[in-house]
């Protein structure tokens, strides 16, 4: 169901590509539609997710919330290690699967991140990044309803991430699965509450700021923290006299 919604959203964005006018960023030809979806997501976030996340943070102590984050993070590491291998990063793949084994046992089913302490740090991979490593361009920026910033490539990647999600095929019980989805969404949102305050202060135009930060962030992730420098002509002159 969620996949269908995602497909529909991508298709919808694609159809509108022809008629949307271009605003500032050449990576964002769908800006008009994207802004509308962004405003919708923002309203949904303010009305529902943020209050719930704040409540969650107020009610549960830090160690509990960290345990919840760790639990989901451990499930996620399985798919991360598959993406490592798909990207040819075999060493990292081995490390990440070792993380899963380590954390599922010594970390008590993933509640503790024993692997980080043992010198195996967490990595960040997903199928969108794998596609990027395979040479697929990101395509236009798109804001997906109820999901947030993405690109055509990364949105397509999300379909695979969704199918490979252990929460998705880990249980046949729809109520349990949905509860897990909800818990994960709340936990993730709670982790970002402080960041939202900073964003609120930083941005003149929140839509543009989120877009440009997100695109830089993705590029950085694709290159595992070492993106090639983008030298800008306008910054070549000497600074001060």
């Amino acid at each position: 169901m969620e996949v269908n919604r995602l497909c529909a959203a991508l298709l919808f964005a694609g159809l509108l590509a022809g008629c949307a006018t271009s605003g500032g960023n050449p990576a964002d030809p769908l800006e008009k539609v994207n802004r509308a979806v962004f405003a919708f997501n923002d309203a949904a976030d303010k009305a529902l997710l943020t209050p719930v996340a704040k409540g969650y943070r107020a009610v549960f102590p830090g160690f509990f919330r960290t345990g919840v984050s760790n639990f989901f993070s451990n499930l996620e590491d399985v798919w991360i290690s598959v993406n490592d291998v798909l990207q040819g990063k075999f060493q990292q793949g081995l490390e990440d699967i070792t993380r899963v084994i380590h954390n599922s046992t010594f970390g008590l089913a993933g509640l503790f991140d024993a692997a980080s302490a043992a010198g195996l740090p967490k990595h960040n991979e997903d199928f969108g990044q794998t596609l990027a490593v395979w040479g697929i361009e990101s395509g236009p920026y798109v804001v997906i309803p109820l999901i947030g910033p993405s690109t055509f490539r990364d949105g397509f990647g999300l379909l695979f991430d969704y199918k490979a999600d252990l929460v998705y095929w880990g249980t046949d019980s729809v109520p349990i699965r949905n509860s897990l989805y909800a818990t994960r969404a709340i936990s993730n949102r709670a982790n970002l509450l402080d960041a939202s305050n900073v964003l609120e202060q930083a941005a003149l135009d929140r839509y543009a700021f989120v877009r440009d930060a997100w695109l830089q962030r993705r590029r950085n992730l694709v290159y595992d923290g070492n993106p090639p420098r983008e030298r800008d002509e306008s910054d070549d002159e000497p600074t001060t006299k």
């Binding site: 800008d232 306008s234 600074t239």
Partner: protein, 205 residues
């Protein structure tokens, strides 16, 4: 967008002699600011005003805000008059200081690691890389400082948190503001943003 992103961070800078090596400079400033926050109950409780004062005193002297404004303005910088350039740099500085201050109050003493700097002694531009460790299984957040050598010692002209530049992220916003309202329009928007009350941290803990 998972991790804590801008957030965390920015614990930055000061002290040290002006001739200090760039990595020693950044580490010195960051350590001092981090230590000050850990001793200051008000800042930990979300006092952004006090955090802003700390930034003004310890961090601001080590930044080149003119260059930061110029990078953010890209080609529009040249069409600005010297007077406008000065105002842009000043307003942009205020915006960044205020942003920093909302981030600093979230600092909880996470350990910061510095990577060895690969630079030759005659380099005039250097990147100092650091990593803030997170609690739980979150990925560490990288914080990279771009520095340039000036007559007054090393100056920071960009900070990248998790690969996101605090400077270039403003480019498109600035460009469209200038396109629609001119350079004075942008200065006005920045000034208006800077007059908004600085929020204390919402919600508890």
């Amino acid at each position: 967008m998972k991790t804590a992103f801008f957030l965390l961070a920015l614990v930055a800078p000061l002290a040290c002699a002006q001739t200090a090596a760039p990595d020693a400079l950044v580490k010195g400033i960051t350590d001092e600011v981090a230590a000050t926050i850990m001793k200051d109950k008000d800042i930990q409780a979300g006092d952004t005003k006090k955090a802003a004062d700390l930034i003004e005193a310890k961090i601001v002297p080590h930044f080149n805000f003119t260059r930061m404004a110029r990078i953010a303005m890209a080609r529009n910088w040249r069409s600005a008059t010297p007077e406008q350039q000065k105002e842009l740099a000043a307003e942009f500085k205020t915006l960044l200081v205020r942003t920093y201050s909302t981030a600093l109050v979230n600092y909880k003493g996470q350990p910061i690691d510095y990577k060895p700097v690969r630079a030759k002694s005659d380099d005039t531009e250097v990147t100092v890389r650091s990593e803030v460790k997170q609690s739980g299984s979150s990925q560490p957040v990288s914080i990279d400082y771009e520095l340039e050598k000036t007559d007054a010692g090393w100056k920071i002209y960009d900070v990248k948190v998790g690969g996101v530049s605090l400077v270039t992220t403003y480019r498109d916003t600035f460009a469209s503001e200038v396109r629609e309202h001119g350079i004075d329009g942008l200065i006005k928007s920045l000034a208006a943003k800077n007059r908004e009350p600085l929020g204390t941290r919402a919600g508890k803990s």
